[in-house]
Amino acid sequence: MQRKLMLGFFSVLFVLYVAGPVLWLLSSSLQQESEITAVPPNWLPPNPGLHNFTAIFTAGDSAEYANRGLSGFLPSGAANLLPSLYNSLQVGLWVAVLNLVFALTAAYAIAVIDFRGRRATLYTVLATRVIPDIALVVPLFLVIRNLGLINSIGALVVTYLAVTLPFTVFILISYFEGIPRDLYRASRIDGCGHWGALRHVYLPLSLPALVAALMFAFLTSWNEFLFALVLTQSAAAQTLPIIIAGFVMDFTTSFSFVNAAGVIAILPPVLLAVLFQRYIVAGLTAGAVKG
């Protein structure tokens, strides 16, 4: 009994610890600036409203700028929020799609084809993830600059692809290795070449791992801050994290606006996670145990 009580208590504590900031984000996004900064804080919005979201979606409109009044001013660059959301989506989708193409083929080659240097390739791919991102920022900046990609979405896509691929390849290799080898053999006998075996056996049987890998690639791109800060300098290519962070660095900060922007920023990943939840769990534990 006591054990159950303790378990319950710590579970609630843990959930509050994890979900607390998110709940506060949601609550404050529905509050006025003055309500957010009030002491004691309003845990629940006293006058809930969508005014902050309206401000975001009409941020380009100068009339709205005036209408928000003293307690609801718009940070400079607020008009960049929606374009940056679009940039983030573009980058995330490109990285996810390119991950699919490269990770699938790379994982198939490493997991299935017995070629000379196979182990070395695998370890090289994995070793690249041991290096912390911060160590790569300057060399990457130079490479991207020399490629003429600085300040473009392409710069972020190329960079994030390099960052995410090793892990997605690894997820898929683990999963592919769990698919019975006889299925591959049977497909080769039935008339598949390597592309056929990938398409008819490995692709349809590794959906959970694929979804997990794609989610990982998308979310990593969506959340990434450091490379985006260094590699993009104008609103044309900047992503959501950079723009939102920019709001806080002004002399004054509109918490209501930032929090509403935060809610918009977490919506796509949360939606994706809910949609594919079943696959993600199966995919992330892939290869952990042999079926």
């Binding site: 019975p180 006889d182 299925l183 053999r185 049977a186 497909s187 080769r188 006998i189 039935d190 008339g191 598949c192 070449g193 056929g196 008819h200 056996v201 349809p204 049987l205």
Partner: protein
């Protein structure tokens, strides 16, 4: 149809040689069984014929065509696996029709071929099911269906019955035999089960250590084993192989060290022309149709199969007659058979 010729086929994994310079000529329409214990190289040989393992050395011909470096999908062979290897995401009909689909056969023609094969293998009622909704026997029939649907000239089977229970194995065995009679294609069949080998094969290649120990008809392998390994691998219970305790046929040169082999069933009541062995019955195991005995003769213990009407009891003394012509003689040093 195709004849298969292996010339010096060798498979090496790093420093380990799994198959050593194997020469084997399989005639068109022949049912060849590769028989041997685990790790003897039989499956590796089959995989080399299929194209699933690269050939380290040697040449492989289908008729006169050199297929040594050809990938599996260009060899036009069909294969049945021990694990069935059915595509779990496809229905039975899709599994069977898959090889035809890959060859660009029209959907209507695929449907017709699948229906025909399903009828032949009694799968018609199961065509819309997925593999996980089938029993082991049904799965193996689907695997067979996938193999026969495109009328290949060479069938390769890798222990296809090992995962089935004893009763099912018997019925599948006769199904495979009937298929061979009907299709008259070349079959290469890998097994470690001597009963399967003896009942199915036109010829058996007994393998050990990556080398063919003997290549002969089932009767030849059983009646004239080339060495002590083949002699003891075939026959249940195993042949009695003894240096002493069994009569030495007269034609064996005096002084030569030999091992004498006696099949458990090659004994009778003592009589004319038979050498009588006398011993104590240590164990009696009635098997229904016959009785298995352990008889200690001097220092040696012989395992014998005798008719059930012999009515022997443990502890009693028993005389049995052995025909010297039925004894197998092997050189003690080389383990090779010596003939008169």
């Amino acid at each position: 149809m195709a004849a298969i010729t292996c010339q010096g086929l060798t498979k090496r994994y790093g420093g380990v040689t799994a198959v050593q310079a194997l020469d084997l000529a399989i005639a068109e329409g022949e049912f060849m069984v590769l028989l041997g214990p685990s790790g003897c190289g039989k499956t590796t040989t089959l995989n080399m014929i299929a194209g699933l393992e690269e050939i380290s050395d040697g040449t492989l011909l289908f008729d006169t065509r050199d297929v040594t470096r050809l990938p599996p999908h260009k060899r036009e062979v069909a294969m049945v696996f021990q694990s069935y290897a059915l595509y779990p995401n496809k229905t039975v009909a899709q599994n069977i029709g898959f090889p035809l689909k890959l060859r660009g056969v029209a959907p209507a023609e695929i449907a017709r071929a699948v229906a025909e094969v399903a009828e032949q293998l009694e799968l018609t009622a199961l065509l819309e099911r997925r593999p996980n909704q089938l029993s082991g026997g049904q799965r193996q029939r689907v695997a067979l269906g996938r193999a026969i649907v495109r009328h290949p000239s060479v069938f390769l089977m890798d222990e296809p019955l090992s995962n089935l229970d004893a009763t099912l194995r018997l019925s599948m065995r006769s199904l495979i035999k009937r298929l061979h009679h009907k299709l008259r294609a070349t079959f290469v069949y890998v097994t470690h089960d001597q009963a399967e080998a003896l009942t199915l094969a036109d010829r058996i290649a007994v393998m050990q250590g990556g080398v063919i120990q003997q290549l002969d008809t089932p009767e030849g392998i059983y009646e004239r084993p080339a060495n002590t390994f083949v002699a003891s691998f075939l026959g249940s219970p195993q042949i009695n192989l003894l240096r002493q305790g069994l009569p030495r046929p007269g034609w064996v040169p005096a002084g030569r060290e030999v091992v004498i082999g006696l099949r458990p069933e090659d004994v009778a009541r003592p009589g004319d022309g038979l050498v009588t062995l006398s011993g104590r019955v240590e164990l009696v195991s009635p098997l229904g149709s016959e009785t298995q005995l352990e008889l200690s003769v001097g220092e040696a213990t012989l395992t014998l199969r005798v008719p059930k009407d012999w009515r022997v009891a443990e502890g009693e003394t028993l005389d049995v007659g052995v025909d010297p012509a039925r004894l197998h003689v092997f050189d003690a040093a080389t383990t090779m058979r010596i003939a008169p």
